[in-house]
Symmetry: C2
Subunit: 538 residues, 2 copies
Amino acid sequence: MTGHQQTLTPFLWRAENVFPEKEIVARTHEGMKRYTYDEYGDRVRKLANALENAGVEEGDRIGTICWNTDRHFETYFSVPNIGAQLHTINPLLPDGHIQHIVSDAQNKVIFVDPSLAEKLDSAYEEDSFSSVEQFVVMGSEVPDLSIEPVTDYESFIGDESTDYEFPELSEDQPAGMCYTSGTTGMPKGVEYTQQMLWSHTMATMVPQALGIDDSDVLMPVVPMFHVNAWGMPFSATAAGAKQVYPGPSPDPEDIARLIEEEEVTLTAGVPTVWLGLLEYMEDNEVDLSSLERVIIGGSAAPKALIEQFDELGVEVVHAWGMTEMSPIGTVANLKSDLEDAPKEQQFNVKAKQGLIVPGLEFKVVDDDGNEVPWNGEDFGELYVRGPWVTQSYFERPEANEEDFEGSWLKTGDIVTVDEDGYIEIVDRAGDVIKSGGEWISSQELENAIMAHDDVTEAAVIGVPHERWSERPVAMVVTPDEVDNDALTEELKEMLLEEYPKWWLPDGFKYIDEIPKTATGKFSKKDLREMYEGQEDEL
Amino acid sequence: MTGHQQTLTPFLWRAENVFPEKEIVARTHEGMKRYTYDEYGDRVRKLANALENAGVEEGDRIGTICWNTDRHFETYFSVPNIGAQLHTINPLLPDGHIQHIVSDAQNKVIFVDPSLAEKLDSAYEEDSFSSVEQFVVMGSEVPDLSIEPVTDYESFIGDESTDYEFPELSEDQPAGMCYTSGTTGMPKGVEYTQQMLWSHTMATMVPQALGIDDSDVLMPVVPMFHVNAWGMPFSATAAGAKQVYPGPSPDPEDIARLIEEEEVTLTAGVPTVWLGLLEYMEDNEVDLSSLERVIIGGSAAPKALIEQFDELGVEVVHAWGMTEMSPIGTVANLKSDLEDAPKEQQFNVKAKQGLIVPGLEFKVVDDDGNEVPWNGEDFGELYVRGPWVTQSYFERPEANEEDFEGSWLKTGDIVTVDEDGYIEIVDRAGDVIKSGGEWISSQELENAIMAHDDVTEAAVIGVPHERWSERPVAMVVTPDEVDNDALTEELKEMLLEEYPKWWLPDGFKYIDEIPKTATGKFSKKDLREMYEGQEDEL
Ligand SMILES: Nc1ncnc2c1ncn2[C@@H]1O[C@H](COP(=O)(O)OP(=O)(O)OP(=O)(O)O)[C@@H](O)[C@H]1O
Ligand SMILES: Nc1ncnc2c1ncn2[C@@H]1O[C@H](COP(=O)(O)OP(=O)(O)OP(=O)(O)O)[C@@H](O)[C@H]1O
Ligand SMILES: [Mg+2]
Ligand SMILES: [Mg+2]
């Protein structure tokens, strides 16, 4: 009685056949590349044959250490469609993490961008990489490297046939894999089944998620090693949309030029990328007229960013997600009754992490295990579940014990939910500061401090305190010329306008840089480690 | 590693909690009813308790013989959410068919509209209905009937609690059931698993299907006993959209009034309904300004209808589906490169059955089992597969042998596919006329003949012929005053402008009415039976 298995193959088939002329464009180390879904499909099948000839079988894990390019995108359908598992690896991770991840995932083949080959070479270490039978450099030549056996992509797929009959896979077949960012500890492996990727792809297309259509020109700036560029390559293919890949380390100029030249309508990335673009636009003329929407996630989208884009006629779509969720969980779309609300109110809503996407469920649980009311004030940990939310980690029994409760994933994010159902992240569970039995939101304090013109970045951590058990301390980065003592007074005054006195950080420490994770998030773990034992100085 | 099961409960949960104030409005025999998702959820859980107390268990089949009302909609979530199976029954079927269906499906409880209770009474027959333990009339009183035991809906759910913890179901749990229309033979049972309904719901929301959002006000005119009103009640709930149910036998005036008063933006039904509305509008002022789109399916949407709606500022969304497909398979949305095409070209595209919905696959196979090229000319039978397409019939092993090939459903529809991927249905497999080894499309001839102002309806069937093996004959319905012989000459001339001579029907027979099925489709089976042995006269 049941229907056919939920797999990725129909998305490729549809794009190739119904939208054969739609383009895939990429900025690569060889210059701009441009081809159609029609040709894309042929290259996907060539690669499938090459993988099979290289001995890849159903269930094998294939690693990629690559930027957002056409060739990387080819692995996105080739690998899962033959029943293997696409494991995207973050090249910005420390060598030790990469070694851990590769040896954990037992990758059989690893694809690597020429610009990242040196990084791989440096991370390479025989034991951790012992499972790897073939390295493939994403180009038409092989740079001088110590890793082996190594070949280049074009030679790898060169003679292969464009015919390949993809097997009818089970929807439970693992199709993808990605490690969490390691913000709170060692990265944890998350596997994606065909069904999870299928569900996420369908869900992202619905209007209350991202509403992707064939009229969109989609450019994922978020790296393809961050949870499959938030699933965009799959969604765009399913919708038959034109795709633009910004290639190795795109800078604001590259991004601006691609938006202009390819008439991008929809793009996606972390806040830093967009702050960079807007800064670049202060001195450079950029035509954003084609751009309709920017999806921002990974960290909170600052309200100022939402407002600035609005002035440029671009809608910010703020989304929240996790590696564990394939990744999209909430999107801050306006409910229909907010469509005519004053802009200010709309910005406030859009600065929240948003409404749960159709198909998922959540609950917010306080320390005693009770669900908190939806009043925009009460905090609790966010639990989620749904078809594209994992129910376990890869070979991490302890984490499976801790981070799941039945079918629920405990996100580790502390949130409020308002009367309209909009979720707002106020902290990470480990970052919450508990002072005299009351919670203080480190993220709220950070956002408030960063709103000051003389503050470049700020992070707030909790330090042990005899009487209050914990007290907040702010770490602040400023431009060179600022008078720190004066600034501290200004910040205190500013905070007192909005927050009770006991929320005021006990100390303001001026530092050169906030330590960051490989995905560019504030690493409070590192901050706390840096200052362990020096609490008195803070 | 996998995600949570795909079931309907999260859709209800989300509507109730994220869109608690959105309305459900119904025209009922008790007058207009109006409540919110918040109240709706409570009544769904009351009904769940009532069903449980009535002895309903996981896997039981619950029948409904009901119009589109609030109470019928309550069964849509109550029954599947407790693990039982919602079996909607077409009250317009002949008594014998209803008996067959009820005894085939072994319904434990049957819900019936007051206005349909007499129909049920007449179809009632002890043997076929022996599984039924409870009849429930959709109201607050019980009419005088011979069926028993019988109660009324409000008494049935009256004292029940609004608390009910829905079980965590498997996505393979059967959740729905519907019989095919019986156009080509006895109706066949199709079961829908939770996963099929979940997939169909997600798919219908995507822009390239129906693009349903919370800003929509959705009125399914297509009856809820026709493949769950094409799944709209589920899609609208998942999107948190306002819903309007037009109640028992709505006439054009009811439909017009509901669109005006409830500011309906999106509605759906078979062509006849809309022809009726437009006819009504010739003599009556109707304000369609809220209406954005009309989904038309079940039979081909005539081009003239698409044009007339366009003049009224309403977009026709032509869709094709089957009971076997939950039901939606293709939607004639314009590709982005057609958005600026001349209207005439757009209408031609919209009159086709459309593009395959993301997530599904199809192929078109000729008599020799080869796939036909996508050139808009070559015919073949349409095969489809996907997560919301069944892979077997309920207890019909012979049909399972005939109508499926591996994971593919053979639709029985004969189609062309054009270069852009738009599918056009040219015939039913059994209705195709093969003359001198060449195919003639009965549906094309019918549409051409019906385009004449003096023709009310026309059907074309094939009759045996010694030399050509088969030849077309047209059955034509006209208004009283028409001169048939003159009309025949005009029709022949008209057809010759577009079609080769050998496509011309050998005979034009003027009859009072084309026999129809319970879903209002031309019953060529009946036509052929009517004229069997009288071929010489045709
Ligand atoms: N829009 C957003 N606003 C605020 N925080 C966000 C947003 N999107 C994502 N996040 C944060 O990112 C987290 C998910 O990130 P990711 O899966 O990349 O790994 P991580 O949680 O940073 O690392 P690890 O789980 O290894 O500690 C979320 O749990 C949330 O804390
Ligand atoms: N937009 C449309 N244009 C033309 N035909 C359509 C359209 N939508 C549906 N149909 C026809 O309706 C059929 C599906 O109808 P349904 O499932 O209600 O039962 P049926 O096929 O009429 O009856 P049975 O299968 O019992 O003979 C399709 O196979 C197709 O022939
Ligand atoms: Mg995490
Ligand atoms: Mg049929």
